[in-house]
């Protein structure tokens, strides 16, 4: 009796899986909506090494592809222990029945070869139940130290073919690495792969640094530095690590910089006589142009992806709220109207949403709303969540979560814009203020 009930429940669950999360009819496809509850089972066959020396590398690349897909929350990588017939040749016909039997909806196969200092990765994606390849086989090549990037590119391609949306795995995150006690925190700029690998440091901890922003081409980072004793905007070249203050900054506190989409202009806040307003300046120098003239706080500005509008926060209404104005300046429209305070707005790279920090009744939230302020959705809640940054495809936000108390420390977290798949992003120590790059070239 109990067993029969269990079987019935299992059958019902399977029906939900089959019909609810992913369409069994037609081509393999995930529609990313709030309805995606069960990840799609996918088999990532161990990539074949074309020579003995590449064995370990092939295993590493396979592991990164699996981790990327699973980490997105949209896929479940089936354990290789369940595989019925191993893939022994990249070009042999796929035995679809063996993969259907373990309910693999998709199958990824690949090869890795090493020649001189260069790695080549080939892969194919198959729609198991339709028994067809999903797209052409593809090949990526790179230098020996680029193997993780090659794996991320494979995973991005798989993600894109199945979801119809751009990927986000081959990307980097600039952030602030923190050490020391809460009342004497030392901070330095760091950069890592989106998944926490390959951390390197861009500054030492001799001076307080805050809130880095990375340019769309990844070549430059704007950040706030106290190296002169007051907060000033600095510009760092990510290749040479050379740094310089932004030219022609007025003699006042400046902070909260952000690049224009074309990378030629910086928006920032300037505090003079206790009043903080928004300014714009060419990165190459030139005269700063004042964009707001109000006795209230105007800060955290950022452009829309097309550069035509600016989203920012202001307390002109009496509390911190989100506004949008034309990029040339002009009358701001308030878009946040819910209970509580709203800050650190960031425009989605898809253009459709604004991510923000919300503070209400002693709790902090990361949320998203449409650019007209409608459809506000809170994705997280904690003692202190703040500072969202968008994944390259506008599907995930990363942010800072800080714990309470004397031993409190910040860490990086990411969450889907559906509110699912909340997880900590691994960093070597405490970390804050992430800025997610676009997909790398």
């Amino acid at each position: 009796m109990i067993k029969r009930l269990f079987v019935a429940a299992l059958a019902a669950l399977l029906a939900v899986l089959s019909w609810g999360a992913w369409a069994q009819d037609g081509p393999l496809r995930i529609e990313i909506t709030e309805g995606v509850i069960e990840p799609l089972p996918i088999a990532v066959a161990p990539f074949l090494a074309e020579a003995g020396t590449a064995q370990a590398l092939a295993a590493d690349i396979t592991a990164v592809v699996r981790a990327d897909l699973e980490g997105s929350g949209l896929f479940r990588a089936i354990s290789p222990n369940a595989f019925i017939s191993p893939i022994t040749s990249f070009d042999s016909p796929v035995q679809y029945a063996d993969w259907k039997a373990i309910n693999a909806q998709g199958l990824v196969t690949g090869t890795v070869s090493v020649s001189g200092g260069s790695i080549t990765v080939q892969f194919r994606l198959f729609d198991v139940f339709s028994e067809v390849p999903l797209g052409e086989g593809l090949q990526f090549a790179g230098g020996g130290d680029a193997w993780r990037r090659l794996a991320h590119k494979v995973a991005d391609e798989v993600y894109t073919r199945i979801t119809g949306e751009g990927g986000y795995f081959d990307s980097r995150v600039v952030f602030v690495a923190e050490t020391g006690p809460k009342d004497a925190r030392q901070k330095r700029l760091a950069v890592m792969d989106y998944d926490g690998a390959n951390v390197s440091y861009l500054t030492d901890s001799s001076t307080l640094v805050l809130a880095p922003r990375i340019s769309n081409d990844g070549s430059q980072v704007l950040y706030t530095s106290y190296d002169t004793g007051v907060p000033r905007i600095n510009l760092l070249d990510t290749r040479t690590l050379t740094r310089r203050p932004l030219s022609n900054q007025p003699d006042a506190m400046s902070f909260s910089p952000r690049f224009s989409p074309d990378g030629t202009t910086v928006l920032f806040s300037l505090s003079q006589g206790g009043n903080t307003d928004l300014y714009r300046q060419a990165l190459s120098g030139g005269t700063p142009e004042r964009l707001t003239q109000a006795p209230s706080i105007e800060t955290a500005p950022g452009y829309s992806p097309d550069g035509s509008r600016i989203v920012f926060e202001s307390d002109r209404s009496g509390s911190q709220q989100i506004y949008i104005m034309p990029a040339a300046g002009g009358e701001p429209q308030r878009i946040s109207f819910g209970p509580g305070r709203y800050g650190s707005p960031v425009w989605s790279p898809r253009g459709d949403l604004i991510a923000f920090t919300k503070q209400n009744q002693g709790r902090f939230h990361i949320g998203v709303m449409r650019t007209d302020g409608s459809e506000e959705r809170l994705l997280t809640a904690s003692f202190l969540d703040e500072g969202p940054t968008w994944s390259p495809n506008g599907r995930v936000v990363m942010f800072t979560r800080e714990t309470a108390g004397a031993g409190g420390a910040p860490a990086l977290y990411s969450v889907d814009i559906t509110g699912r798949n909340l997880k900590r992003v691994p960093t070597p120590g405490a970390a804050s203020d992430p800025a997610w790059s676009p997909l790398l070239e």
Partner: protein, 164 residues
């Protein structure tokens, strides 16, 4: 010779003071002297810090000065009038309950409030500079109002040397 030894000793004292001072922070320029000297010497920075009171506190999300804050700043102004060789940097701070950028702006408001009050009491504006540390430099570490109240502050940090 004796003069250079004296200078060295002074530098050592200043360095020590700025290293051990939890309340201050880096000053905008010149030599930080917060806490230097003997608290029993009314002309010493230590007296300013401890007897006069080097800080004023603010309610949540506010930068207006209450009666207690104005009384403290009145005494600071009197001390600065009597000790004309000192400059001061006023540091504005916020508690951790706010976003990073907003708290920088709020700290700037608080520092400016204190600065403007001191100027209104006759202190030359060019002796006073301001800096905001936002929520970056709390002095009390707990995450309850008792600590937050101490962290929402404007601290007047003395310095000597040429004006800014």
């Amino acid at each position: 010779m004796s003069r250079s030894i004296l200078t060295l000793a002074l530098v050592a004292l200043v360095t020590l003071a700025s290293c051990t001072d939890r309340f201050g922070g880096p000053v905008a320029g010149g030599a930080g002297v917060a806490g230097a000297g003997s608290p029993s010497d009314p002309a010493s920075p230590a007296y300013f810090q401890q007897a006069v009171g080097d800080r004023v506190l603010f309610p949540v999300d506010e930068s207006t000065l209450n009666a207690a804050a104005r009384a403290t700043l009145d005494q600071q102004a009197a001390w600065l009038r009597a000790n004309g060789s000192y400059r001061a940097t006023i540091e504005g701070h916020a508690d951790e309950q706010g976003t990073r950028e907003y708290n920088l702006a709020l700290g700037a408001r608080r520092a400016s409030s204190a600065q403007q009050y001191l100027v209104s009491q006759g202190i030359a504006a060019n002796r006073l500079s301001t800096v905001s540390f936002g929520k970056e430099r709390p002095i009390e570490l707990c995450s309850t109002e008792s600590c937050y109240a101490q962290n929402r502050r404007a601290v007047t940090v003395l310095a000597t040397g040429a004006g800014v």
